[in-house]
């Protein structure tokens, strides 16, 4: 199977990879990078019409779209991590850089990379796996049906850890016909190694993006964990023990259950989608030492902790360039537009998802920042009125914080959270903004590093090269 078919297209890591690699090629991201710009008007019109379909049909369409891009169960053992890594590095232009990033997916970090003109290599990819006949609220049964395929995958790929993830809250429609296999590299794949060696010169910096978020799991086998739910609107306790919000949600969706029957948790593990698996560190240290690179580790407790840092970095950068810096672009999940962020002179604030905690993080940032004249909001629609979803009314309150213009961008407020058109309209509407500014030259890495190292939201650690370039076998500390 082609790697591009194995990996989910509608996922954070691949969405971010597309957005950043297109940016480094000098392009924006129409149709979230999944189709030609010329198809955008048609896609927007068709998906807008689809938004008017009855709810049941739309929910089935969501489920079918997930199923259609998933890998058949029996083919999972044939997936090879080396090919996936080559597919990732193939996205980027061949160019020297004085900094590169590797590790956790993070929307704010993507804007950091865009500002610097630097690439990022994801540690984690999502492989959606087809399986039938499991009720979304029965995770034990999901694991029972897919454990064997999981074992086949990790046996064939000793460099991977499988973080199987089951989120019956937010992924309810998608998991009807598939299971989420998130794989993390614990050894650096050859393609990443070669790519980094071709990109970074001696003295350059390799930044490890280290999201420390952990989540309850059940160990399903060697290098195979099963994660109970996922960050978003519900808490780990609600996934584990249920609660009034969970019971109400399950009742609304006509489920025979009132809580989920996850297998007993026996520990915590780096969070499947965002968390960094530190098993990769020794390889990165060794590679940095061998090539005479500095190794920097950017650690943070939760994905959204990077967002205010990068937002402020952009704001300061605009002000240094003599621009107003009074526009905010609030982005959600994989709806990211690094190119238009810079062309519209917007400060990017990335949110993990469309939930109350994400909205609270955005309003918290607005509370502490100088007021914005304009606020634009991109909202990802996942099709489910899930626990902790922030409503359109609540988002409106946030938009009212703008001095002049507080608007949804590409959101069909009547269809949300079952808004297919957002994927086509977010870019389309953003690209219509009339007040644009020139694309800046890349930011200097020293400037950015100094800024990042001073911020409390991040822990910044650096390891200077201990071996002269070209000397092998001297792992640094």
């Amino acid at each position: 199977m082609k790697p591009g078919r194995v990996v989910a297209s509608f996922d954070s890591a691949t969405g971010m990879l597309r957005a950043l690699s297109r940016f480094l090629h000098g392009r924006d991201v129409p149709l979230i990078g999944q189709g030609p710009a010329a198809a955008e008007p048609l896609a927007a019109a068709l998906s807008g019409a689809a938004n008017r379909l009855p709810r049941g049909l739309k929910e089935r369409a969501y489920a079918a779209s997930g199923w259609a891009e998933a890998v058949p169960l029996r083919q999972v053992g044939g997936i090879r991590s080396g090919a996936l890594a080559r597919w990732v590095t193939g996205h980027y232009p061949h160019r020297r850089s004085d900094v590169a990033f590797v590790g956790s997916a993070n929307g704010a970090m993507i804007h950091l990379c865009a500002a610097l003109g630097a690439p990022w290599l994801p540690q984690t990819l999502l492989i959606p796996v087809r399986r039938h006949g499991v009720h979304p609220d029965e995770p034990r049964e999901d694991l029972r049906r897919t454990r064997e395929a999981g074992q086949a995958l990790v046996t064939a790929n000793p460099d991977l850890v499988l973080h199987q993830m089951h989120d019956a809250n937010q992924d309810r429609l998608m998991i009807a016909g598939m299971s989420y296999f998130r794989v993390k590299w614990r050894r650096l794949p050859a393609a990443y190694r070669h790519y980094l060696e071709r990109t970074l010169a001696p003295g350059a910096t390799l930044v490890v993006v280290d999201c420390e978020l952990r989540w309850p799991v059940t160990r399903a086998g060697p290098r195979h964990v099963y994660q109970h739910g996922a960050p978003g609107g519900a808490t780990p306790e609600e996934y584990e023990d249920g609660g009034p919000r969970v019971a109400d949600y399950l009742r609304r969706y006509g489920s025979p259950h009132r809580r989920w029957d996850y297998p007993a948790a026996d520990g915590e593990s780096p969070e499947a989608e965002w968390g960094f698996e530190p098993g990769l560190l020794p390889d990165l240290r060794e590679l940095a030492a061998r090539n005479g690179w500095r190794l920097a580790r950017m650690s943070f407790a939760e994905p959204e902790h990077v967002s205010p840092v990068v937002a402020d970095l952009y704001r300061e950068w605009y002000r240094r360039r003599g621009l107003p810096a009074d526009r905010l672009l609030a982005e959600c999940f994989l709806l990211l537009e690094p190119w238009w962020t810079l062309r519209s002179g917007s400060v990017p604030y990335w949110m993990v998802f469309n939930t109350e905690p994400s909205r609270a993080s955005l309003t918290g940032y607005l509370d502490g920042a100088d007021p914005f004249e304009e606020i634009r909001l991109l909202l990802f629609s996942h099709g489910v009125e899930s626990v902790g979803l922030a409503t359109i009314g609540q988002w409106r309150e946030t938009l009212a914080r703008a001095g002049k213009v507080g608007v949804f961008t590409g959101v069909d407020t009547r269809a949300y959270p079952r808004d297919f058109a957002g994927l086509a309209r977010a870019h389309r509407e953003l690209a219509r903004i009339r007040a644009t500014v020139p694309m800046p030259l890349p930011m200097k890495w020293e400037t950015a590093e100094k800024f990042l190292a001073d911020r409390d939201e991040l822990r910044w650690g650096t390891e200077e090269p201990t071996a002269a370039p070209g000397l092998d076998g001297r792992p640094g500390r």
Binding site: E373, V405, G406, I433
Partner: protein, 248 residues
């Protein structure tokens, strides 16, 4: 109490007005090109519950007197400014709809002492659509979203005004460069756009707000160009909210 007809004479021309005298400060509604206060009466009726609401006919339109030849935009603005004084209103809010926005912006920049605030509902004309053909195309695309009950009112308005006056008003709306005047508006201004307005693109509504020194944009979900006719209560609520903020 509902709407009452009150006419005034300005420069030897009768200016027809409809008023509902609510407790709040005065708001004067100015209609779009070729039409009259007819389309704004239901809105003035609702707004009059809270404000001293007026809807007037510009000279040449509706029940107002007919000048010898159609008035150009600055002349229409001068009439509105003189009418405010004649009616004895103390710095009202001027609310324009469509072409009416161009009139009230002209009043605000050439007679800065007249208005205390502006409301621009569906401000025309987007400089990127400034041609008769484009305007006609936008008008046609917008029409299906409007209330079907508005059509007979439009027809009556066009009949009252006559073809020459209607065309002259559209001509004035195309010639006027509102974007040059917006930065000179010194009072708070609320811009209203229906999310399904095909005559006022979102990017233009944002640009209008951006150009106004004290502008603020309200997007009304699901409404077409003529927001006050399509949903008088929602628009009146938004306007009243804006005016209480301005007063505070």
């Amino acid at each position: 109490m509902s709407l009452q007809r009150q006419d005034h004479v300005v420069d030897e021309l009768t200016v027809a007005g409809h008023r509902r005298r609510g407790p709040g400060p005065p708001v004067v509604c100015v209609h779009g090109a070729g039409v009259s206060s007819r389309e704004l009466l239901p809105f003035a009726e609702v707004l009059g519950e809270r404000h001293d609401a007026w809807a007037i006919d510009l000279p040449g339109f509706g029940a107002s007197g007919k000048p010898d030849r159609p008035l150009i935009l600055p002349a229409l603005a001068d009439v509105v400014a003189a009418w405010v004084e004649e009616a004895g209103l103390e710095r009202p809010c001027l609310l324009g709809v469509s072409f009416g926005c161009q009139v009230v912006v002209d009043v605000a920049v050439r007679h800065p002492e007249v208005a205390a605030a502006l409301v621009l509902a569906g401000p025309t004309v987007d400089p990127r659509g400034r041609s008769p053909w484009r305007l006609a195309g936008q008008w046609l695309r917008n029409a299906p979203g409007e209330s079907p009950r508005m059509m007979p009112l439009n027809v009556a308005d066009y009949r009252d005004a006559g073809l020459r006056t209607v065309l002259a008003a559209f001509g004035e709306s195309i010639r006027d460069r509102i974007e040059d005047k917006l930065p000179l508006v010194t009072v708070p201004a609320l811009v209203i756009r229906g999310s399904r307005d095909r005559m006022v693109p979102q990017a233009w509504a944002e640009e209008v707000t951006r150009l106004l020194p004290y502008g603020r944009l309200a997007v009304m979900d699901g409404l077409p160009h003529m927001t006050p006719y399509r949903d008088p209560r929602r628009v009146a609520g938004t306007v009243a909210g804006f005016l209480s903020e301005v007063a505070a």
